[in-house]
């Protein structure tokens, strides 16, 4: 009996975290007069709110923009951060320790302080309203370097020596020997980077004004703030479309997500 009550309470708490999303999806499918209903069931479900979103804003384009930007950044962070991580953990060169200290230091600098000069730099490069402004400043990540450095240190020297004797170059060793032995680290960095980029909205709001370059969260934000949605249901439909890809990926890779975030303590 006591156990049953415990589980009921726990289930209610869990529902408090899931139900708002269920309500959002349901409300986006309901006619406007039923929007404040508590129950998610309705006899008048329709996709008219979604049609309205598609008519009012180029959200499909924004989806592909976001996908392109997030994938480019993730791929680039994996390649470049692992290269630097490899150099820091497996090679010796002058200034290596200084470099490590600098990387630690840059992680403590809040984005607020570099945001304005970084914008000025984008203006000088003529990169505002281009994909370059969204991608290039995110192409390497200090957090990725540190995580790879940590992980690569644990790889046995014997494997690397063997590859070197076979005539493998350092780049070859990194991608053909070290990468296959570092799948958990690669997944962690990929998930965190992809999520941060996909969900990031402050930087796009600063450097992008043209609608056809906008990322999805930016477009949905401006759609909500600008009052262009007119109906609450339409606004919730746009939010649902923004949430859907991440929720689908999360449902499939849930374990990896939680493990990655627990390992790093970083949040999106």
């Amino acid at each position: 009996m006591k156990k049953a009550i415990f589980y009921i309470v726990l289930l209610i708490v869990a529902l408090a975290f899931i139900y708002p999303f269920i309500w959002m999806v349901s409300a986006s499918l309901r006619p406007e007069i039923e929007i404040s209903d508590l129950s998610p069931i309705s006899s008048k479900f329709s996709i008219s709110n979604y049609k309205a979103v598609l008519e009012k804003i180029p959200i499909v384009r924004a989806f592909f923009n976001s996908l392109f930007v997030s994938c480019s950044i993730t791929l680039s962070v994996l390649i470049f951060s692992s290269m630097v991580g490899y150099a820091l953990s497996r090679l010796t060169f002058k200034g290596r320790d200084t470099m490590f200290t600098i990387i630690l230091f840059t992680m403590m600098i809040p984005f607020q302080i570099t945001m304005i000069p970084l914008y000025v730099l984008m203006v000088k490069f003529g990169w505002t309203d281009t994909y370059a402004a969204l991608i290039v400043p995110g192409m390497i990540s200090a957090f990725g370097i540190l995580l790879f450095r940590q992980y690569f240190k644990a790889i046995p020297q014997a494997i690397i020596d063997a590859a070197r004797i076979d005539g493998c170059s350092d780049l070859g060793i990194l991608f053909r020997i070290v990468w296959p032995n570092s799948i958990p680290a690669l997944i962690t960095v990929a998930i965190i980077t992809f999520m941060n980029t996909w969900n990031g909205v402050l930087w796009p709001l600063i450097v992008i004004r043209k609608q056809n370059i906008m990322t999805m969260p930016q477009m949905v934000t401006l759609f909500a703030v600008g009052g262009q949605a007119e109906l609450i249901g339409v606004q919730l439909a746009s939010a649902t479309m923004l949430a859907a890809p991440v929720v689908i990926i999360y449902c499939i890779f849930q374990r990896y997500f939680i493990a990655s975030m627990a390992r790093t303590g970083l949040k999106g």
């Binding site: 020596d161 909205v201 949040k267």
Partner: protein, 292 residues
Amino acid sequence: MGRSRPDENNRVGYLMALPYVIFFLLFMAYPLIFSLILVFHKWNIIAPMKWVGLGNFVRLFNDALFWKSLGNTFVFLVIHIPLQIIVALVIANILNQKIAARGFFRASFFLPVVISGVVVTILWQQLYSQETGLFNALLSRMNLHKVPWLTSTKLAMPSIAIMATWKNVGLYVVLFLTGLQGIPFSLYEAADLDGASGVQKFFHITIPMLNPTMIMVLILSTLGGFSLFIEPYIMTGGGPMNSTLSCVLYIYKQAFYFNHMGYAAALAFMVALIIMVVVIIQRKSFETEVYA
């Protein structure tokens, strides 16, 4: 193999570290140096920069809105941090027991963490809505008064803090869970032999052993509070009466609505300084409390 071919390694090391060097110079060092120049100038990005010395800082100290935005951030932190730690600790302790469907529960608490803040804010704006919101519908069903969640100057920031707690708490649950699993079971067994109660064990073993996690949670949520932006941007635009104007929203408005680049840089510099001081104070006070 570093020893056998030191020179080769040296060169390759430089080459492989080169991407970061370029990145650092361009996107870290340059902005930081430029920021230090900018804070002493008046600049609207189009006309040439004008040297104003400490003018921006004098203006900042007399700027009621800046202090208001700082005050708002502290209101947010004072509600958000304790609430977050208590809720996360309770949930983590429950999940740390042998319960059925633990994975399901963990995944549910974690769901809002992975979903964009934009989605969460748009959703909660509707939940909080005065007339059509879910919360007020619930309250009126229980014959209680409707609450002006986002339209009252007193309640708007606490409402945002509650939403932020809901969004982030799953991450802290996972962090606390990791911390809890690192506590040696023998400590609890020893306490059992001494006849300690569950409450005693919690306050004398669990809490002190979780100290490193606690400090991490404290610092992460403080940094989160100081970077609060999209929530007030979407929900309230900083209102009503600037009661939800956050530091970053204010910097953003100064820089990109009014083109006050120099002043905005000075504001950002000041906020970064305050963040540093707050984090150092938190570190110091929490560490002495435990190891004294």
